[in-house]
């Protein structure tokens, strides 16, 4: 125990640095994932075959191949085509694009779960297609998609650990470095594991629950009821 405390005193600051980078990667990737999910989810519901196909192709590619390979493609292969991204940027873009593909299905499912009558009454009230979607359908879909998004964000946080493999100095990167120099594997990876767990349980889950409460109140339901 004492040995572990010494370890923390020695390497704590590096875990903190790594955690900050992991949180940055998570937040940026999450924003990107939500944006992509919204666009792709809506495109998947388009009347136009071409628009639908673009979304289907995107979703298939990013769900059907591994995140690690997507990350390597974005970081190592794109430069061959003249697109060079900094490793930090490449990291969250890969994670965001990958989770965005899963999110697109969540968005699509939530939108089609809104009862048909809501679309129809929005037409009867002569709302424009844009307002039908943004003011009537999406707010209701949002409520249905919050719980699955909670899971996706946790997946996304865990997925960011891979960015260490392109040398983004995130939590996983620091843990590997510390392990490499000290050979204290249990301490190094144990600490990282605990921090990942705490981020998921203390940051993501409570935020999502709070959001769900806010939405429930908007729907005139009492929280939990």
């Amino acid at each position: 125990m004492e040995r572990y405390l010494d370890f923390l005193v020695e390497y704590g600051p590096r875990f903190v640095d790594g955690t900050i980078v992991t949180v940055q990667q998570t937040v940026l990737a999450a924003l990107l994932a939500v944006a992509i999910a919204l666009v792709m989810g809506l495109m998947k519901l388009s009347k136009l075959f071409l628009v639908r196909s673009v979304a289907t192709t995107y979703i298939e590619i990013f769900r059907g191949t591994s995140l690690l390979i997507q990350l390597f493609w974005i970081f190592f292969v794109l430069p061959l085509f003249g697109i060079t991204l900094e490793k930090f940027t490449a990291g969250f873009i890969a994670v965001g694009m990958n989770l965005g593909a899963y999110g697109a299905e969540v968005v699509r499912g939530a939108i089609i779960s809104v009862p048909r009558g809501q679309y129809e009454v929005a037409i009867a009230l002569n709302l424009s297609p844009y307002k039908r979607m943004t003011r009537i359908i999406l707010p209701q879909a949002l409520i249905a998609m919050l719980p699955p998004w909670g899971n996706l964000f946790i997946e996304l946080l865990k997925g960011t650990a891979l960015v260490a493999l392109i040398s983004v100095t995130d939590l996983m990167f620091e843990a590997r470095q510390i392990n490499g120099t000290t050979f204290l594997s249990a301490e190094a990876f144990g600490t990282a594991l605990i921090i990942y767990y705490l981020l998921a349980r203390l940051l993501i889950s409570p935020s999502m629950l709070a959001l769900e409460r806010v939405m429930a109140r908007k729907m005139g339901r009492t929280p939990g009821g």
Binding site: E120, S128, M219
Partner: protein, 270 residues
């Protein structure tokens, strides 16, 4: 019977509020509206009755432009609704044309379809603000007047989930009226309600019939109500009007065998 026996003669200069001209609608092999002709005069109150599956809801849905028709033309105040003129011929309506035309039509649905994420007053204000461009103050004032008329002003700040079915349906009526439609469509607006609250909704419709310059098309299974409120009752059978006439005649003394069978079945059930 067909349009030759239409009770209200229409001059060409005075187009009907609604005209179905040879309108057909199919779902696959099923013909739901079968070359339907139907004229409804401005301010006329028409009830539509008929057996399940006879096309009553479909008539309202195609008029509300929720469904396209396969054949024929629907006109609103002499203007084509389902079609528009392009170089002297009628072509399918564009979305822009539909949006312009359907602003004269309001519809109340069997299952209310209130917006669950908005309060009662927000439900009523939404379309006036977002579709008509009214200011929030104007929309609120208009909505409060209507909520007062339907007797539910005290619930303005509540969410729909806190209201009874009868109250929700009255809000839905106020919400539709807030758009100031000229033609109101009611699709079995009391059939999802508990018996004890049906009266409060029917009273609102009675009041509309008495006070407002509204053309109303009412699909209903309540023969007593249809008889009392309507200028004319249409009996639908297999996507056509099998018989129509003034309520006392059609309900009191039907000529068509099918009408008689239908009426005796529903009146027995009551």
């Amino acid at each position: 019977m067909d349009n030759d026996t239409h009770p209200i003669r229409l001059r060409e200069t005075d187009p009907p509020a609604v005209r179905f001209s040879q309108v057909s609608k199919h779902y696959g092999d099923l013909t739901v509206l079968d070359s339907l002709d139907l004229d409804i005069a401005a301010n006329e109150i028409v009830s539509i009755i008929g057996p399940s599956g006879s096309g009553k809801t479909t008539v309202l849905r195609v008029l509300m432009t929720l469904e396209p028709i396969d054949d024929g033309v629907i006109y609103l105040y002499g203007q084509p609704l389902t079609h528009m003129e392009r170089g002297g011929i009628l072509v399918q309506s564009s979305d822009a044309h539909l949006r312009k035309m359907r602003s004269d039509i309001g519809m109340v649905f069997q299952h209310f379809n209130l917006f669950p994420h908005m309060t009662v007053i927000e439900n009523c204000m939404e379309a006036p603000v977002q579709a008509l461009g009214l200011s929030k103050d104007e929309a609120r004032e208009r909505s409060m007047d209507l909520l007062t008329m339907v007797g539910i002003a005290d619930k303005a700040g509540q969410h729909p989930s806190r209201l009874s079915g009868g109250q929700q349906q009255r809000v839905a009526i106020a919400r539709a009226l807030a758009m100031r439609p000229k033609v109101m469509l009611f699709d079995e607006v009391t059939s999802a309600l508990d018996p004890e609250v049906i009266g409060e909704v029917l009273n609102v419709i009675r009041q509309l019939a008495g006070e407002h310059d509204l053309t109303m098309i009412i699909v209903t299974h309540q023969m007593g109500f249809a008889r009392e409120i309507s200028d004319r009752v249409c009996f639908f059978y297999e996507g056509r009007i099998a018989e129509q006439g003034p309520p006392d005649q059609l309900i009191g003394n039907p000529q068509n065998e099918r009408t008689r069978m239908f009426l005796s079945a529903v009146l027995d059930a009551d």
